[in-house]
């Protein structure tokens, strides 16, 4: 059983604090993805877990050991680097066996485990080649092989796919997921790509400026972003964020007034959390803003208004529609698309149940960090 626990972990470079007292509990055999824009501290956090960076304050526990002062070699972890970091002067076989050799395993044992890893990753034909003679995808696989031969407690991945081309990236993503199913070790994975995070993770940790913004399963962070940052970071195309003000409507039902004289009712789940006069940001995913007869069947309570479509991007199964509310650009989606001509004015349905409401001054979801 190998849990990893970060308790009030701080990283400072001189005066500059780059990771601010973060707490994180990672369960045994869990696949956790740290995601965030560059400079958010996710790689630094991973390197602190690996022992490649000292921690300035706090405590890191792997299994039942506090590892604050332990060098990387004593942490029983393995790591896949962004640039693979294969040893250029060693063959694939020697690269895979290097860690075992250092640990003074017998030759037969090393051979057995190297062959096993090669088998899992399909490296059989490449064993006697040098890294320079491999393609990007093959190098990536060797790097993963080197990580698994040692059978570590925890795997650390530092943006392992960012050097691959798009097609290979999708393929390796699936392989990593398969690998996790097979070896079932704890994995901590860093990426800046939210699609990678969503597809791979058991739980996603979204970081910004050295803080953890939200931790949750992919669907939790997608359906219940705690603030506008998470809302805009997770999901593609990004969530539309419109300025609005809560006003008293007829029959005691509060409304939110958006630009261009568009008003929508306050969504049911947010009703108890907003007051008349409050400035809010209304978050609408493009998936939930669809032209009439071109939306999902079961879209719950809807409200409709007209928008002029200025640009359309056909993707085949759907078309992304660009329009404007006030000065803000909004994106919608057209399912079962038909061609759009010029500046066409369409009647859009908005799925009210899936609208997010954030406080305009704090950017926090009005439902609070813990929502039902």
């Amino acid at each position: 059983m190998t849990e990893v626990s970060l308790q009030q972990v701080v990283k400072r470079y001189g005066q500059l604090e780059v990771v601010h007292a973060i707490d994180l509990e990672i369960r045994h055999s869990e696949f956790v993805v740290l995601v965030g824009p560059s400079g958010c501290g996710k790689s630094t956090t991973l390197r602190m877990i690996a022992g490649l960076e000292e921690i300035s304050d706090g405590k890191i526990v792997i299994g039942d050991r506090v590892v604050n002062k332990l060098p990387p070699r004593d942490r029983n972890i393995s790591m896949v680097f962004q640039n693979y970091a294969l040893y250029p002067h060693m063959t694939v076989r020697d690269n895979l066996g290097f860690g075992l050799k250092i640990a003074k395993h017998s030759d037969s044992e090393i051979n057995k485990r190297v062959e096993e890893a090669a088998e899992i990753l399909g490296l059989g034909m490449l064993m006697d080649r040098l890294p320079a003679e491999l393609s990007g995808g093959q190098r990536q696989r060797v790097a993963m092989g080197r990580a698994i031969v040692r059978n570590p407690d925890v795997f650390l991945f530092d943006e392992p796919l960012s050097n691959l081309d798009a097609k290979l990236r999708v393929q390796m993503r699936t392989e990593i997921k398969k690998l996790h199913k097979r070896v079932n070790n704890t994995i901590i994975y860093v990426t800046h790509d939210q699609v990678e995070a969503m597809t791979l993770a058991d739980r996603i940790v979204i970081m910004r400026d050295g803080h953890i913004e939200q931790v949750g399963t992919p669907l939790e962070v997608f359906d219940h972003p705690v603030n506008t940052f998470v809302a805009s970071f997770i999901g593609s195309p990004p969530m539309n964020q419109l300025d609005g003000k809560v006003i008293a409507g007829e029959g005691g039902e509060n409304q939110i007034a958006l630009a261009d004289n568009i008003t929508i009712p306050v969504p049911n789940r947010a009703k108890a959390h907003v007051q008349v006069g409050q400035y809010v940001i209304v978050g609408i995913r493009p998936d939930d803003l669809t032209p009439k007869n071109h939306g999902m069947k079961d879209s719950g309570e809807t409200v409709s208004f007209d928008l002029t479509v200025s640009i359309s991007e056909p993707l085949g199964t759907e078309t992304i529609l660009f329009s404007q509310i006030g000065t803000k650009e909004v994106q919608g989606k057209m399912l079962n698309p038909r061609p759009i001509e010029g500046d066409e004015r369409l009647n859009f349905n908005l799925s009210l149940d899936r609208v997010h409401v954030f406080d305009a001054s704090t950017g926090q979801n009005v439902l609070g960090p813990h929502h039902g």
């Binding site: 490649l52 060098p71 962004q82 294969l86 040893y87 250029p88 890294p131 320079a132 040692r150």
Partner: protein, 281 residues
């Protein structure tokens, strides 16, 4: 112009350039095997009429010659001084180069600039100050004194060259080795050192050749067979009224040979042929 004529022209040009570069050296070697009369003949005899080993016999005092020069002592001095100073310059170069490539410390840039600036001072300009200091310390005519001078001469260069090679090695390689179970020290010796080998070999050969061939400082700081090196020994052939060019050329041949052999041995490392494929470039 056809590609064939082009390639012929380029071969001819290459040949002429190489001829210009190598002729003096070849002439020296050739003259080492010719009698003095033939070397000094006017008009010059371009094609050797007679090749002889007499000059070498004379140097080593074999046979009926009177003037024997302590070549073996000079050779021993040269070997000891050049190898020791090279070894020290390389060790300091590896440590210094690694530190400059990998670590952050105070005054790093200033220090590096200082090392480079020290290279701009011509060695000969230092000969008098060095002579005075060495005289006070009693290091004149000692192997140690010369070794120290050559180490000082070579260290900035070895640091600079080796630093460049370590810089090319991504630091992730050592980190990966550490994660794989190495100590910092093991990671260096098993991963980074083998990858920088070609740079270290280049620095070594340059340092060795500098020490092996250096004349100006050595001629000031040495007096006797205690510490005289081969290049300084060449002046033994200049007497008050005569210069034994044949003997001098023969000795030059003795000086050139080890350097040439060493260069051939290390040559394959000089071609920085190590293919960096371990990381995405």
């Amino acid at each position: 112009m056809s590609t064939q004529t082009k390639s012929i022209i380029s071969w001819v040009v290459t040949f002429i350039v190489m001829l210009i570069i190598t002729t003096p050296g070849l002439w020296v070697i050739l003259s080492g095997f010719r009698p003095l009369q033939e070397i000094l003949a006017k008009p010059a005899i371009w094609i050797p009429q007679r090749l002889t080993l007499d000059n070498f016999r004379a140097i080593f005092g074999i046979g009926e010659t009177q003037i024997a020069i302590p070549v073996l002592a000079y050779f021993r001095n040269s070997i000891i001084i050049a190898t020791t100073s090279t070894a020290i310059a390389i060790i300091v170069g590896i440590s210094g180069g690694y530190a400059f490539a990998r670590y952050r410390f105070k005054f790093k840039d200033t220090l590096f600039l200082g090392l480079m600036l020290s290279r701009t001072v011509p060695g000969i300009a230092l000969s008098l100050p060095v002579f005075i200091v060495w005289a006070r310390l009693g290091w004149i005519d000692t192997q140690f004194g010369l070794i120290l001078v050559y180490v000082a001469l070579n260290v900035p260069f070895t640091i600079w060259l080796i630093d460049g090679f370590f810089r090319q090695i991504p630091k992730e390689l050592a980190e990966a080795a550490e994660v794989d179970g190495c100590t910092r020290w093991q990671a260096f010796w098993k991963i980074e050192f083998p990858l920088a080998k070609s740079g270290i070999a280049s620095a070594g050969i340059f340092a060795f050749l500098t020490s092996w061939n250096e004349f100006a400082l050595a001629s000031n700081l040495t007096r006797s067979t205690n510490s005289k090196t081969l290049p300084v020994g060449l002046t033994d052939f200049i007497a008050q009224f005569t210069t034994d060019w044949a003997g001098m050329c023969a000795m030059a041949f003795i000086i050139i040979t080890p350097a040439l052999i060493l260069t051939f041995i290390v040559q394959k490392h000089l071609i920085a042929g190590l293919t960096f494929g371990g990381v995405k470039g």
